[in-house]
């Protein structure tokens, strides 16, 4: 059988990437990566954030130049890679957020730029609709071509984007987290469509954090970690725990923090339920305790964070801060109750990028900085800003620098400073280390440590399980809207494999 597989591999290779390396200042994003895709296979590509998946795909799409290595498509080496040469070679990318002409019909989206004409040179709409309908039905895709794209569901848009790629003679399609915003029904629909195209000989690279789905749809899977390819396996040869083990590696803790948890409960949530987001969520945070919450997109973690901070409705159930009932209807109310939130998308919810570090740091405490008649006390403001620049080690030419000119890590520290300045009792951090460099990461861990030592109860929502293990006293896992598992340092059961398995919805027997 091994023999047979070998021959199959050699004559069926569609894409062969060899020895791809790519370095950024201070980071080796890719190191000697070998990656191959067979004709007509669905190839999973998994790895944690920052493992190098997007850099590798960037090289494949021609938007990143590799420092070394070769890309061979269908036996032809692709030199001088540009997005156009990659498209011409039949490589197409379908992003999570799809760019289509939303105000126009499906038919026009398919035939844009080259609509069929009648003998007077005018657009022949009848043929346009018939043509596009016929093309779609050839792919087995049932869509009303006269419908506007803005009226399509996300799954339908994804399928339309795949179809468009196929009409442009794509033979290898990269799907980036296509199911993140889909319900189960829509996932089945999408998978059915992808399988049908596979049978026609189209190959897919399937990038996803949902490992169950990888097992459901992929033929093979490649695991990346720290810029390297850990390995490629036939899907029938492995299972979820093995895959997780490959993703996690040796399990070296990046950071180790002593527990500072006190005895008194600072924040408690009882039976919280919000329609379509989460249900029966109960937990308590003690003063100085750091608790991680982890779950896939759609598991309810993101909604929980926003609900607890008043950015969205909190839903049914109750919450308490220091024993006092807590039900925020706006971020303002949350701040006043002593709850602060570090948003996941700092560009959208965190920063006013055109404004200075000073202004950003003091936004949430302006009330405390006003003297008579609403005049801001400049000296206090200046002192506060400088205090936090020093405390958090924000690297900036000065407090008047526009935050848009800072690095990602320093921008994140500015948002931290804004929250810490409110002197919160409860701090909810949402992916605090996303998009920051290694040095800034350690700084942020230290900030978390300092705050917890001061008695702040901290809840970290993160998919970086290894980081959570180093930082947290306990880790809660959410799946399908519910808290399904709890791991704790006290019980010594915080093993990355188990936690990841729980995140993926698997049963963990460590509880027993």
């Amino acid at each position: 059988m091994a023999e047979a597989r070998k021959t199959r591999e050699s004559d069926a290779v569609l894409l062969d990437m060899r020895g791809i390396s790519k370095a950024y200042p201070g980071v080796q994003a890719l190191e000697e990566a070998d990656f191959a895709v067979r004709r007509g296979e669905i190839h999973g590509l998994v790895g944690k954030n920052g493992a190098g998946k997007s850099t590798l795909m960037g090289v494949l799409m021609g938007i990143r130049d590799a420092d070394s290595g070769s890309v061979v498509m269908d036996g032809q080496e692709l030199v001088d890679a540009s997005p156009q040469t990659m498209l011409d070679a039949g490589i197409s990318y379908v992003p999570q957020h799809i760019n289509l002409l939303n105000t126009l019909t499906v038919a026009e989206n398919i035939l844009v730029g080259a609509l069929p004409k009648n003998r007077f040179g005018l657009v022949d709409w009848k043929t346009t609709y018939a043509d596009s309908q016929e093309r779609l039905s050839r792919l087995g895709l049932r869509l009303d071509v006269r419908q506007l794209v803005e009226g399509l569901s996300v799954a339908e848009r994804t399928m339309l984007a795949i179809a468009k790629a196929l009409f442009n003679n794509a033979r290898l399609i990269i799907l980036d987290e296509p199911t993140a915003a889909l319900s189960r029904v829509d996932i089945d629909l999408l998978f059915g469509f992808v399988r049908a195209q596979q049978e026609q000989g189209v190959a897919f690279i399937y990038i996803s954090h949902h490992l169950e789905e990888v097992f459901e749809i992929c033929d093979r899977v490649t695991v990346m970690r720290d810029g390297r390819i850990v390995g490629t396996r036939e899907i029938e040869d492995i299972d979820v725990p093995v895959l997780i083990h490959m993703m996690v590696g040796g399990g070296v803790k990046e950071y180790e923090r002593e527990s500072t948890a006190g005895a008194q409960v600072a924040f408690e949530v009882r039976d919280l339920s919000r329609r379509g987001a989460y249900e029966d969520v109960s937990f308590a945070l003690r003063q100085g305790e750091v608790v991680g919450v982890s779950g896939l997109q759609g598991s309810g973690v993101d909604e929980l964070a926003q609900g607890l901070f008043g950015l969205e409705r909190m839903g049914a159930g109750e919450a308490f801060v220091d024993g006092a009932a807590y039900r925020p209807d706006s971020p303002r109310a949350a701040f006043e109750a002593g709850v602060a939130y570090l948003p996941q998308d700092r560009h959208r919810y965190g920063l006013a990028p055109l404004r200075s570090v000073r202004e950003n740091v003091t936004y949430s405490v302006l009330d405390r900085l006003v003297g008579r008649l609403g005049v801001l006390m400049r000296k206090d403001e200046q002192a506060l800003t400088e205090e936090y620049i020093a405390k958090l080690g924000i690297v900036t030419p000065g407090p008047e620098q526009q935050t848009l000119l800072l690095s990602g890590g320093n921008q994140q520290k500015v948002v931290f400073a804004k929250l810490a300045a409110t002197k919160p009792k409860v701090l909810i951090l949402h992916e605090p280390t996303q998009g920051v460099d290694v040095q800034a990461k350690v700084d942020i861990f230290n900030i978390i440590n300092d705050l917890s030592a001061q008695g702040v109860a901290i809840m970290i929502i993160s998919s970086e399980v290894r980081e959570l293990i180093g930082l947290c006293d306990r880790i809660l896992v959410m799946y399908a809207g519910r808290v399904t598992h709890e791991f704790s340092r006290a019980a010594a059961d915080m093993k990355p494999e188990d936690i990841l398995l729980a995140i993926e919805g698997g049963a963990v027997d460590a509880d027993a």
Binding site: L100, N102, V112, G113, S183, R275, G276, G315
Partner: protein
Amino acid sequence: MKRAEPNRLAALMVDNLIWLFVLAAFIAFSLLSDRFLSPYNLGNILLRSAAFGMLVLSQAYTFITGNFDLSVESTLGLTAMFAALMLVTTEAGGLGWQLHPLLVILLMLVLGGLIGLFNGVLITKVGVNNLLVTIAMLFVLRGATYGISPGTSISFFPKEFTWLGGGTLTRIVTDNGNFVLSVAGIFVILAFLVGHIHTRYTQFGRNMYAVGADADAARAAGINVDRVVIIVYIIAGVCAAFAGLLQAGRLNAATPTLGANLIFAVHGAAIIGGMSIYGGRGNIIGAFGGVLLWSILDTGLNIMGVSPFWIDVSRGLLLLFAVLLDALRVRYQHNVQLRLALADTSVGLKDKGHSDG
């Protein structure tokens, strides 16, 4: 994949809101005044707003691509004044060239096109904001109109010239008076028809929509976005020049203030006709509905003896009403989508509230 069965009738009404307005206004004025339905008045509706209609057409073009051109009202003024200067004798205030009307018309259309080209290049190639460029051009062109004018109005144009703006094609005599089929009215209808065919049935027209829907996606589809935008500005300039010729012809006079301060009413007509300032939406026929609605209001109120000064008020209120309806529609659609998304999950059923509004 459940999807709300769209209420067909409601959708049809929302898509054709402008025609409901037109119909309602038409019926209302017919009931309120017996003179409204007279043949003379019906013939007049389009004649009075012919130049206005051409400006709306120019904005419809720029709107489809997600752009603005505030300067068209000044282009109207400048081309009217320029044409007048070249047509009449020195005694009548002109330059005394007395060029052939056909040549003048041609020159003015070229001038309008050049103005549009200038706008388009500044916006696409130099990168100046489209609102600001066309505001500045609005000043420049209006200023130039004053500058070249002899300070007074110019009149006494040759017949061949006024035929376009004020001429009569045919007159149908009825018991209630004459139905006058004006050249300008027919011209505007034809212009909109050509515009409709151009935007609906040519590759270029569809590229315009693609650019307005999503410039990046259009670029990815191989469309030369800058080129499309520049050409659209040229077309807008030519339409505005036509407007100038029609207006001068109808009034048989050119004054430096011709067309001044029209632009907001023009935008209003295009928007109530279903065009979006964000591009990619609406169609030329709808914009024509906007022109019709505005001129029905104009003539209707006029016939009822309402002071013409109330016309802008009614236009503004109607526009506000239309935007309100649109905002409500967006909110409704959002709620429907939310409900559909919730119907797919069984999570958190304890929570009874389900609207995030």
